[in-house]
């Protein structure tokens, strides 16, 4: 069993054990077991980074075994520079989420922890899968734990949100399934993603496949105009659910573009790049403005996620190495920053039980230590140099300017709107007079919360100050991807 298999199955195994053995009365034990499980799951991903060879676009840590022989489906895993960091990011965020749910979750603790651990394994599976069916199985299976997480531990309108989440994403991915089966038929009976990369396809077929896959990935990213599920779901999901959703699940969609749409359908990708760029810019500019008027903190961060993900897709579809790398860096950075933002809201929500901006004001007076963290993450969300948020946005804007100055200018305005909505929210929540009694009685963060925020703060600063480890691994893979996109597959 290779390291990738371990990274996938360790958390799932711990999750299964928690489900089987966990009792309501043993909640403390369940929590510790979940923490141990998530830490071990993270540790087994480290050798993948350690042993990763730079300078090659080949898949590494490849595992291949027949799975369903009748359809030539293989259990085929591997990582390249594009997927490597997401494996680590997923395992890392899972630790944070387990810590975040420590005291808050009092009901069905074992199911809560198990759902997140299993979800973590499945998402790593998505990033590591090199077989179409395997990818689809992991991609879809993530819906089940997330649906339960939102529905069981969510807010007042959780049922609406859970259904919207499930059905919206299912619609997209079912069309992708048909696209996969079509590719399987065209390739003479193979679900191997790498074989699909070199499969010649006609222009019409590419366009149809492109839109079938777009349905799946655009919903997941989410791109404007299919982003409407995200704010609803974020608002109702428990803090941990929001963090995982923003940090990793959204990346599954963006990753899909890199692994499927762009290399398999290069001609269609180039033909429809204008559309993708237009949709991305709408997300960046328009959704950024929508975020400005939100009254609910979680909704605001959700809209800001849509805007940030717009940068990611924008970077991908300008087709230069700076843009694609910038998009990937932005994905990782957004993983740290958005989950941190949601955890900060969670810290406040646990105390005051309100997500309305108007319920707060002057939090800095009662929670000074917490406000320092919140400020750091807010700055990262605006893209302040020195934080993780800056690197990706800067690379993407630079890449867009290279492609077209006016597009770049439009994208750059997002920095202003991003700073506006984040800082304005920050001002209204943390500064100003304490008008609300709840705020007067706030207690500052405890050790557990400090630990969880500190871990993320280190990651945000590290990535902002020294992004080299992140960009180094992806250079070769991005270059090879761009070669594929540039080459025509029409026959």
């Amino acid at each position: 069993m290779g390291w990738l298999s371990l990274a996938i199955w360790t958390p799932i195994l711990f999750g299964a054990v928690l489900l089987a053995l966990g009792r309501e009365s043993q909640a403390p034990l369940v929590r510790w077991l979940a923490l141990v499980g998530s830490v071990i799951s993270f540790l087994v991903t480290l050798p993948i980074y350690g042993g990763f060879k730079l300078g090659t676009a080949e898949m590494q840590f490849v595992e291949k075994a027949p799975w369903i022989e009748r359809f030539n489906v293989n259990y085929h895993l591997g990582v390249d520079g594009i997927s490597l960091w997401f494996v680590l990011l997923t395992a890392f965020i899972t630790i944070i989420v387990v810590i975040a749910g420590w005291e808050v979750i009092q009901r069905k603790v074992n199911q809560y922890m198990a759902a997140f651990l299993i979800l973590s394994g499945l998402m790593i599976g998505v990033f590591a899968a090199l077989d179409g069916v395997l990818f689809y199985v992991f991609f879809e299976a993530t819906l089940i734990p997330m649906y339960l997480i939102i529905g069981i531990w969510g807010g007042p309108n959780k049922i609406y949100a859970a259904f919207k989440f499930f059905l919206y994403t299912l619609l997209g991915s079912l069309l992708m399934l048909v696209a996969f089966i079509y590719l399987y038929t065209r390739s003479g009976g193979s679900f191997d993603i790498l074989a699909w990369h070199s499969l010649p396809l006609s222009g019409t077929a590419q366009t149809l496949l492109f839109f079938a896959m777009l349905a799946a990935f655009a919903v997941k990213v989410p791109m404007w105009p299919v982003h409407t599920w995200l704010p609803d779901v974020h608002v109702e999901a428990p803090t941990g659910g929001s963090a995982v959703l923003a940090a990793i699940m959204l990346k599954l969609g963006a990753y899909g573009f890199l692994r499927f749409s762009m290399p398999i359908l290069p001609d269609a990708s180039r033909e429809w790049a204008w559309l993708m760029i237009a949709l991305s810019l709408i997300a960046v500019v328009y959704v950024g403005l929508v975020a400005l008027v939100q009254q609910d903190m979680k909704k605001l961060v959700a809209y800001s996620s849509v805007a940030h993900m717009g940068f990611v897709t924008l970077g991908f579809f300008v087709f230069n190495d700076l843009g694609v790398s910038g998009g990937i860096v932005q994905m990782i950075a957004h993983g740290f920053v958005s989950s941190a933002m949601f955890l900060c809201i969670g810290v406040l929500y646990d105390r005051v039980h309100s997500r309305e901006i108007a319920s707060y004001g002057g939090v800095v007076n009662t929670m000074p230590r917490f406000t320092v963290f919140a400020l750091l993450f807010a700055m990262a969300n605006c893209g302040l140099p020195g934080t993780a948020g800056f690197v990706g946005e800067w690379m993407v804007i630079l890449a867009t300017v290279k492609a077209n100055f006016w597009l770049g200018l439009l994208a750059a305005t997002a920095l202003i709107s991003g700073a506006s909505y984040t800082l304005w929210m920050f001002k209204r929540v943390y500064f100003g007079p304490m008008v609300n009694d709840d705020v007067r009685q706030l207690s500052d963060i405890n050790g557990r919360e400090f630990l969880m925020l500190a871990l993320l703060a280190v990651a945000v600063l590290w990535m902002g100050l020294y992004p080299k480890p992140f960009t180094d691994v992806m250079d070769a893979s991005v270059a090879s991807l761009l070669q594929r996109v540039a080459a025509s597959k029409l026959n």
Partner: protein, 495 residues
């Protein structure tokens, strides 16, 4: 191998018949002793039959008995093995349910169950129109009586009446169609009919006329729209244990009937019956999925969901012959077989949970009765959730693999119309996901209305857990069952 008096080819039927008689007589001897003994004896019989059929099937032999009246090929034996297991599981799940409702008068429950299985077996092995019809009648007559087993219960009796009237009509249809085919070809032998039609000497119109009625009869057994009217009423009205008996093993018989009649007998007419199956599949997917949304009763909802699931089976069956070319036949029919076998497996577990929650004098078949099941029993809620997600076709559960193989069969025909059908089926399964999710929502997100604990006998708990686990495990490692179905179909087509 043709053997004039090949008893080997019909030994499962003989064993069943003998055991049914023995169990019927047993009850006359001693009422108190009779019932547990009847239960144990039935279960043992079914277990032995399942094992023997399985062993026989894996030997890969094909035996034609009694001048081709019966066929005992691997497909038949595997289906018999699964049908016997399905009835066994039904007996285990239904044991306390049936006893609580006074349905155990004189062992009829077991005897009728075994006789209905006899009908299933005869249908599965039929090599001749008359044998097939006899099997069908044996199955349906036993089923009518089973539905009416609670004769003091109005809805059951009403359901039995409906079932009887519609079932009799469907039998009439089938018989009429078969007689037309007999008139046209001059033989009742399925292989003979195939040869006669393939010779191209027979007037197409007469054949198609007969075919329409045959397809109607097959569709009634599947419960495909527009011959689905009986399904919701009977599923709802019948005692849950009987619903399970009707919804599990007979579906395998329906599949076998479709294969024997349409593929082994009428393959040269494929272009005609494919269109019918296609239209019925579309109608089933539409009606089943849309009507299921409006249901508040879980049994009724599952009945409509069955209609939709059968639409998928029909899609698998129709993808077999493309432009008169039968190259992809094995692929398509085995996908349909895999679909129906896994459907039966999932149905067993979901109805098992419904029976588990029912207590004496209380039917727990409204969706609302499942409220907060996760808080009362995480295990049973988990099993039910696994079944529902599987029916919705969400990976990594077995229902996904089944849908994948049917879609694969459709898309690999490379015809735009078939690919369009695949997209349609996919959109319909999205609608399907909604009502399955709603039940999951009730179980996991709602507060329980009752806090009474759920108890079940040990045998039921064990079998139910195993059944639920299989739905998950077969979804993760479906390879063996898929290969088994493929080989059975290949051997069936080769002979």
């Amino acid at each position: 191998m043709i053997d004039r008096f090949s008893w080997m080819a019909i030994y499962p039927e003989l064993v069943l018949l003998v055991m049914a008689c023995v169990i019927a007589l047993l009850d006359l001897l001693d009422k108190r002793l009779g019932r547990p003994v009847a239960y144990i004896l039935s279960v043992l019989t079914l277990l032995v039959l399942a094992v023997l059929s399985g062993l026989y099937a894996s030997s890969g032999q094909t035996v034609y008995g009694f001048d081709g009246l019966v066929v005992s090929d691997p497909m038949a034996n595997w289906l018999k093995c699964f049908a016997a297991l399905a009835l066994l599981v039904t007996f285990v799940y239904g044991r306390s349910y049936v006893a609580d409702r006074g349905m155990l008068r004189g062992g009829e429950w077991f005897v009728l169950g075994l006789l209905s299985l006899l009908g299933v077996f005869v249908m599965i092995s039929a090599g001749n129109f008359i044998v097939l019809y006899l099997g069908l009648e044996c199955l349906t007559l036993a089923s009518y009586a089973l539905v009416a087993l609670r004769r003091d219960h109005t809805t059951s009796v009403e359901a039995a009446m409906k079932y009887f009237v519609l079932g009799a009509m469907a039998s009439g249809f089938l018989l009429y169609g078969l007689s037309m085919l007999y008139g046209a070809t001059g033989t009742l032998d399925i292989a003979g009919v195939f040869k006669a039609i393939a010779s191209g000497q027979i007037k197409h119109q007469v054949l198609v006329f007969g075919l329409v009625f045959v397809v109607a009869g097959v569709a009634f057994k599947f419960g495909a729209a527009p011959f689905h009217m009986w399904i919701p009423d009977v599923y709802h009205g019948a005692p849950t244990a009987v619903t399970l008996m009707l919804g599990a093993a007979p579906k395998l018989a329906a599949f076998s009937m479709a294969i024997r009649l349409l593929v082994e007998g009428l393959l040269p007419l494929a272009i005609d019956w494919q269109q019918m199956l296609g239209l019925m599949a579309i109608a089933s997917l539409l009606i089943g999925n849309l009507a299921a949304i409006a249901q508040t009763n879980l049994k009724r909802m599952l009945a409509y969901s069955t209609i939709a699931q059968m639409g998928f089976v029909l899609l698998g069956l129709m993808a077999g012959v493309v432009n008169g070319n039968a190259l992809s036949a094995a692929n398509a029919y085995s996908s349909a077989m895999f679909y129906i076998v896994t459907y039966v497996l999932t149905t067993l577990a979901s109805f098992g949970v419904i029976m588990l929650l029912s207590r004496e004098g209380f039917e727990s078949d409204d969706i609302a009765d499942f409220a907060g099941l996760n808080q009362r029993s995480p295990l049973y809620a988990g099993i039910m959730a696994v079944c529902l997600f599987s029916l919705a076709g969400i990976p990594p559960l077995v229902g996904f693999q089944a849908k994948l193989s049917v879609l694969q069969a459709l898309v690999s025909t490379n015809l735009p119309a078939y690919i369009g059908l695949a997209v349609f089926a996919v959109v319909m399964s999205l609608i399907g996901a909604f009502y399955y999710l709603r039940v999951v929502k009730v179980m996991y997100f709602d507060e329980p209305t009752s806090t009474s604990s759920i108890s079940a006998p040990l045998d039921m708990r064990a079998v139910l857990s195993l059944n639920g686990a299989l739905v998950l495990v077969l979804g993760i490692v479906p390879g063996a069952l898929m290969t088994l179905c493929a080989q059975a179909i290949v051997q069936m087509l080769a002979t």
